[in-house]
Symmetry: none
């Protein structure tokens, strides 16, 4: 069992940035976590605001820890804001429940980690990230 | 009065998992806390997402600390979300105010601790946990 | 690749407790973490002091996160106490650098997680944990 | 003056890894922070233990925040361990006072950020990082 290699994490981040650039998005930042929620790689593009690590990380960390991508977390937050507020506290602040937190799955549906993207609208973040995950040969759950 | 033994905590967790399995719920995770809010036992079933300890613990910890089961905490959160958000902060994040946080009582109504269950819908978590508490000969306040 | 199942984690904890009982140790507490440092199972024996989760968890979490068992962490702490104090801070307090934090390896030397044991002397904690790991068919790095 | 671009941060990390590989060091992890202490890029090599982000980050963050490279922090810790312990607390745990936290300077001596390296001995971490900084055309203060 190989998990996500650094090489694949790099590829995912670059392809995410390429997709953002092509669609004329704002500068993006992206983090790749392994299946245990630990950081493999992070990059912040020039011109992004300084706190982008925390947002990207919170999106990806919440996705792995709860096994729910950002859109599902957002639906839950819309229905029950206090639950997601409490979950944020339970994970020490490392949970941001909006699109851009993407589960990384293999072809058998097994979760290998998560990608967190931030910098443009949440929906655009998710579009760019989805392209990045697919370009790296993994299956995104957005 | 002896409090909750490890043997009884194990029994409660197993019976909670049995109830979940019988009702075809998702993989569950469950924690048992004593009357001081300290952890006696925790188990995460295979296939559950990695962050389930924090959610189960938050449910049980909030229940013991406030003397209110998850459903009562949820009612309070629906009426006054900022109170539960603040309580979450006051307890260092270890408070998740939804069903699945169950107070454990003896036949005289004395609180002996709490069970926290997570993995399926909050309501299902509570159903499975209630079955587990009763199977262990205690009185659940759900 | 299966990682450590709940069933195997239970077995490890029971066998650790059996080894402690046989050697007339104090009541023990033990936690099993997966390779990402997330909790699979924890148990605290009757009669143990209430804060044993935090100690057991800190031993196991430090071992996984640094890839160093408790004895190696202790050697580093003896040589350079301020490094381990700082590492404790970097991991939010979840690092206790003494024996009883045991890396769990498969036959090929791959780390699958960690066992944390506390309750008796640190050396005895490690002896009991080593027996538990071996009884569960894994290779302990103590 | 433009600060450290993502492109330069990448270069620094790659060259640090190259230097580590050439010297047959353990798998390394490296983070680049800007002059405000915010993360630009991080990478963890395959085979490194999962908690390497926290150590690399603590080394670099302490260096930027105090304006002192790791070796100077270590000297202070050897003389006055309680000061560095307190500083670790003051910075929320994000300060690890050993070699491998390297200040990044331009040719005029202005601090542009820091590189944090971990994975081998602290001294080797610093050797690899120094090579990476120089390869990227900056002046390391180790």
């Amino acid at each position: 069992m190989a998990g996500i290699s650094l090489s694949r994490a790099r590829q995912m981040i670059r392809k995410t940035f390429d997709a953002g650039k092509e669609a004329r998005m704002n500068p993006l930042s992206a983090v790749v976590l392994d299946e245990g929620g630990n950081i493999i790689a992070f990059e912040r593009q020039d011109g992004a605001s300084p706190g982008r690590f925390q947002i990207a990380h919170g999106k990806a960390h919440g996705a792995v820890m709860l096994g729910m991508p950002g859109s599902a977390q957002m639906a839950r937050a819309e229905a029950q804001a206090y639950f997601m507020a409490a979950a944020n506290g339970a994970f020490g602040g490392a949970l941001v429940p909006v699109p851009g937190g993407i589960l990384l799955k293999d072809s058998k549906g097994r979760t290998l980690g998560a990608l967190g993207v931030t910098g443009d609208t949440s929906d655009n973040d998710a579009v760019a990230g989805k392209a990045g995950v697919e370009a790296a040969g993994l299956v995104p759950e957005v």
